[in-house]
Amino acid sequence: MQQLATGSKMSFIPNPNLKISNRPRWRLPYLYDLLRELVSREMKLLYKRSVLGVAWTLINPLLQLAVFSFVFRLVLSVDVPHYASFAFCGLLVWSWFQTSLFQATGVIIANRPLIRQPGFPTAILPVVIVMTGLIHFLLALPVLIMFLLMDGIELELVVLFLPILQVLQFAFTVGVAYLLAAINVTLRDTQHTLGVLLQLLFYLTPIFYDITNVPTGYQSLYYLNPMVHIVTAYRAVLIQGTPPNGLPLLVIGFVTAGLIWFGYRVFASASDRFVEEL
């Protein structure tokens, strides 16, 4: 028999030769299956938990739209052409962003058993949330198109920019979600704080009003918010039928690439801590 009882060293210097070869293999077909399974779980849960199921994803923005239409056309009278399409477009884009961030922040804590599964790629979890949001967005898209047609808007060819905008928004949201999910493990009220901040940001993003109504002195501040550009671009493509303003989107694209890289790094280094802190 081998006796390996040893005294303890007092150094706390991590071993630079650390090698762990049992990291998950990143097989693309497998990741696709995993993403599909987890997204479909989210969708099924939504179906099963309420009679209305996925209809809820429509009812919420529609109710908001009804209130906004009443307040801003009859009470305060905001002068925006095609107001219903205008506001609904903004609401869909914003609710994808807001719901995804809010849920992704709590995703680590909600999926503890999955994270403890050997070889489970934890980094997929925020992607699952944003993907689920995208599916809801796509499901609501026909209703938006209906509004557009009712407002007498004809879809131009520039509508082909839509998928590009969605990819951009997807990537941007995932990048932010990585950061928030990592922070939430250490500071558990991140989700609550985020809820409040997102609500404020909702009012500070031109969702139910047009950016041209904002006093010019403040407009430059508005343009620091990437969501302003993204919402504006969606409206350009869908409502005005003009190509989106390319430069800000290009900048957001580069920022997003850096954000995903940075967010993923933070998330990955934090994910080794997740198991200890949960």
Partner: protein, 403 residues
């Protein structure tokens, strides 16, 4: 052939944070981001090295907090080692927290898919194994019912079935065989043995020395994150059991000498050991403590458990004045498990006839933690037993009836 698992000089360091470490953003801001740094560190694992070949089973034994689960997590690639390396070849399957990942609102089939894909199978692979998984779990009739309608046993069967059908090359088993009914346990063990013969390397965590001794090819004993012994399972299990006795001595509280109801003096750490979570308040020998060889003897043990205690084990032994054991039995060996004890109670052992040769003996009684981890109370050489015999000399121990 190379090792399925190779662990070299593995070390894992945990952080103890300040007791008032901010856990919310508000607190963090108010405290000016102070106290966010770890206050202390301690090594949950240090200098752990071992290897497991394909088709081998390694048992890991140790008390709670010895680092067993941390080691299992690192083997599964969950968390990062601070020192050394872990090399695992092949797909890892895990039997940890069985069924914890199930969603109660989804059906068995839906949960099966999610769990199996999360465990590393593609959808097509799951579809191919679907029938086998359901059949093994014996859930053909219930697979499309929501999991919230399942019993714990059904959930465990499903989780186990999924885990063993992922064709793992390395299987990590956390102490789960202590739960679930006996038939399920037997079925699981059988399946694990089957995987083993197919060349799957298995790591089994247990704090039952007996289980390790029976099932494993090698055993490793961890204490406070370090290897105490590594080698033949019987030897390691034996060492562990011996250590357990020392543990009992350390847990024995300081207390003034006490008298039992029948007037025997109990002195802590002299003739009495244990944590006193269950106390033996009196022991009576019936009819008397002075018998003729071959007579009937009853041993009545009165106990007091201030807190409910799960499945304690009672033991009775007879030893001579030099401490040589002549007889030893316990409720676990006699398969008389006690479910739960609380408050006052009494337990009796009857010898139909006691064929000891004449001499002075002592009756020793004890009550132990359900896994023999330590003694609650043990009385050593407190209760004298005098045996008279006219037929044999005092040299021997036995005095069976003979012609």
């Amino acid at each position: 052939m190379h090792d399925a698992i190779l662990v070299q000089e593995l070390g894992k360091c945990f952080h103890h944070y300040h007791a008032e470490r901010p856990v919310t953003i508000m607190e963090a801001v108010l405290s000016g981001w102070r106290r966010m740094k770890p206050a202390q560190r301690f090594w949950a694992l240090r200098e752990v090295s071992f290897r497991v070949a394909p088709g081998e089973m390694l048992g890991i034994i140790g008390h709670n907090g010895a680092g067993k689960s941390t080691l299992l997590q690192l083997l599964g690639g969950v968390g990062r080692a601070d020192e050394g390396s872990v090399k695992v070849h092949g797909r890892i399957g895990a039997l940890l927290e069985l069924g914890a990942g199930f969603h109660p609102d989804l059906t068995g089939r839906e949960n099966l898919f999610v769990t199996a894909v999360a465990a590393g199978l593609t959808r097509r692979e799951v579809a191919r194994r679907l029938d086998a998984i359901i059949e093994f779990a014996e859930l053909e009739l219930f697979i499309d019912n929501p999991v919230r309608t399942y019993s714990t046993g059904m959930q465990m069967r499903l989780a186990f079935s999924v885990a063993v059908h992922t064709s793992p090359e390395v299987l990590l088993v956390d102490e789960f065989l202590s739960v679930g009914d006996l038939s399920l346990q037997a079925k699981c063990l059988e399946r694990i043995a089957e995987l083993k013969t197919q060349g799957c390397a298995i790591i089994l965590i247990s704090h039952s020395a007996e289980q390790i001794g029976q099932l494993c090819d090698h055993a490793l004993w961890l204490r406070r994150g370090q290897i105490v012994a590594y080698g033949e399972p019987e030897v390691v299990a034996g060492q562990y059991t011996t250590e357990m006795r020392l543990e009992t001595q350390q847990r024995t509280p300081v207390r003034a000498p006490q008298l039992t109801r029948t007037g025997m003096e109990l002195r802590i750490n002299e003739n009495r050991f244990g944590s006193m979570e269950v106390e033996i308040t009196d022991v009576r020998l019936l009819p008397v403590s002075e018998i003729n060889s071959g007579d009937f003897l009853g041993v009545e043990i009165e106990y007091l458990a201030p807190q409910p205690i799960d499945a304690p084990i009672f033991s009775v032994s007879i030893s001579d004045e030099e401490g040589q054991f002549c007889f030893d039995t316990n409720t676990a060996a006699m398969e008389r498990e006690l479910p739960l004890v609380e408050g006052k109670g009494q337990i009796t052992l009857n010898f139909n006839r006691l064929d000891l040769s004449s001499g002075r003996y002592f009756l020793n009684v004890g009550v132990y933690e359900q896994n023999w981890a330590y003694a609650y109370d043990y009385h050593w050489h407190v209760y004298p037993l005098l045996v008279h015999s006219s037929t044999v000399s005092e040299k021997g121990i036995l005095c069976p009836p003979c012609r």
